[in-house]
Symmetry: C2
Subunit: 193 residues, 2 copies
DNA sequence: CGAAAATTTGACATGACTCAACTGGAGTGG
DNA sequence: CCACTCCAGTTGAGTCATGTCAAATTTTCG
């Protein structure tokens, strides 16, 4: 369980055994069922959430009521609404579970306490945001440069294990096209490629 | 000149006069002409660039040779290719100037020296990236939720001073549509709104 | 001024969306 | 085991928006 989280930390920072124990004390394990919300629009995002098991989906709803998937969160990923978390303002996003999901939650107070006691953790979270930022930029340029079909391919090859667990309609939403369009795109690609 | 940079720092961090002087010593002023490149695809991005005056444009070129604008950089903004800067790999982006532009450049070595001498600067750059990340996320959701016309409106209202200085064809590229489409969108909007 | 770039417009093809119906599989309850 | 429902996925037909190619016009820049 918690070993996965420690491994995640060790990617960017070296912690002593005592420090690791202190870190773990601040994370609260929580279980969610398939279809259950971790965060709903209008709520405050008061925790950073590390996914131990399962799969989440972060999405927003537009004026017409259509859902738009912002990201997926499989095991070993961090999910949450950073904007709401940092600014203490109500979130505009929903996070729900595509599978039964287990998370480890870190509250803001805990995070600040950990920063005070183990300063190198600030570095860890900085790198986390840095990587998230570069992913976001890569997604923007991918949207500008590539067709929906190419981006579907990209998604499948980038997350080979995960895409099988996500219904195509959710991937379509993530790519910014309708499920019907993606279905037709897939058919065209399977005949040509 | 440098006062603008200090003001930029003061938004997120408090520096003593001595610290401010030390910081300024590490920034190298540089001037570029309109149409001149600050960074070209394939080069290493070895500096963080603070724009003192002028306007830059960061873009990538796809396989068909089409340019796709990733971002604009007016006065008081930071531009560069973070990925190349951090990973010491050749950049995929081009940065050129839409106007004669003056920048203050911070090399990686200088940045690290400053981090060592003034640790709170790490905090400053973390916040910079945090904000950039949230902007990138906002752009992604905007692309998913809104039409090109709405995003044009959004752009114009978000950057009222700047959009007048940017040719519409560049804004079209930033929005992910052709210049012709944006022209038609604008016409439709001016008659309806 | 003269050249280059930006914008607009037209005509046409293409691609995506919408609405709707149908298929097939997973899960449920009798 | 079967009938039923629910949901994801597919397919069809029609509509609309956008891209492409091309040309005319206006603006900007050297």
């Amino acid at each position: 369980m918690s070993e996965l989280l420690l491994k995640n930390f060790r990617r960017h920072v070296v912690l002593t055994t005592q420090e690791e124990e202190l870190v773990m004390l601040h994370f609260i394990p929580k279980k969610y069922r398939r279809r259950q919300y971790i965060l709903q629009e209008g709520q405050m995002s008061r925790t950073e959430n590390f996914i131990v098991k399962g799969l989440t989906r972060t999405y927003e709803v537009d004026e017409s009521g259509n859902e738009h998937v912002i990201s997926f969160g499989p095991e070993d990923w961090w999910v949450g609404d950073l904007y709401s978390f940092l600014s203490d303002s109500p979130s505009a996003v929903n996070i729900d579970c595509l599978e039964d999901t287990e998370v480890l939650q870190l509250s803001k107070a805990s995070q600040e306490e950990l920063f005070a006691k183990i300063p190198k953790l600030e570095r860890f979270f900085r790198i986390l945001i840095q990587n998230a930022y570069m992913s976001a930029l890569a997604r923007i340029t991918s949207t500008l440069k590539k067709t929906a079909g190419d981006r579907y391919d990209e998604f499948v090859h980038k997350y080979p294990q995960i895409h099988q667990r996500i219904p195509d309609r959710q991937i379509a939403s993530y790519l910014g096209v309708t499920a019907q369009s993606l279905s037709r795109i897939r058919r065209r690609m399977s005949t040509k490629a």
